[in-house]
Amino acid sequence: MSQHLHIVCVTGTREKLQMAAMFASVAAATGDQVSVFFSMNALPFFIKNSTDEVPVEGRFGELMEQEAGVPPFKQLFKHASELGDAKLLPCSMALDLLKISEEALDPELGPPTGLTRFLSDAEGGQLLTF
């Protein structure tokens, strides 16, 4: 049965972004509705032409950087959006603080979403936070 999965990405580390992207891509590909909310230190990595260098938390982050066969998290989020219609929603407050608009972000992201809207959409669904 299809369900609605809500993912909140707030941490700017490789492990957290990778795990969130794995959940998003697999759930979206399986037919679940997926909404990912990006805020805090997770959001800047989705600004166009931003660095691929993401801080690691520990051993797994290092391992993932060494292994060429690990699909990059950005590619997985893109898969989630293209193959499974996942919504990748930037936090409107974070955009305000960064003083950037939606156009400055990767094209898969949008529209800017506030907490009230996200919480109301998430009501009754599953929510994972990274």
Partner: protein
């Protein structure tokens, strides 16, 4: 006429092989057969799970040496 295609996803990690399969599955026609090659053990259990949930047909699954050969047919 149905076609067969082999997708080489060896040396990529979860969920890379599954995503490769899904990408090709979207492009395939109903009745086409896809064979996924993967060295990722998790993929061998993830692919049948996905096939079951989405409603395609798992044709065969076998490990030859270090490589999983997962054959699926697009059913809808």
């Amino acid at each position: 006429m149905s076609e067969s295609k082999t997708i080489d996803a060896r040396d990529t990690f979860c969920p890379g092989p599954l995503m490769e399969l899904i990408t090709y599955m979207k492009q395939a026609n109903v009745g086409d057969t896809l064979e996924l090659l993967s060295t990722d053990n998790g993929t061998a259990s993830d692919v049948p799970e996905w096939i079951k949930k989405v409603g395609h047909e798992m044709v065969s699954s076998e490990k030859v040496g270090e490589v999983w050969h997962l054959t699926v047919r697009k059913s809808k």
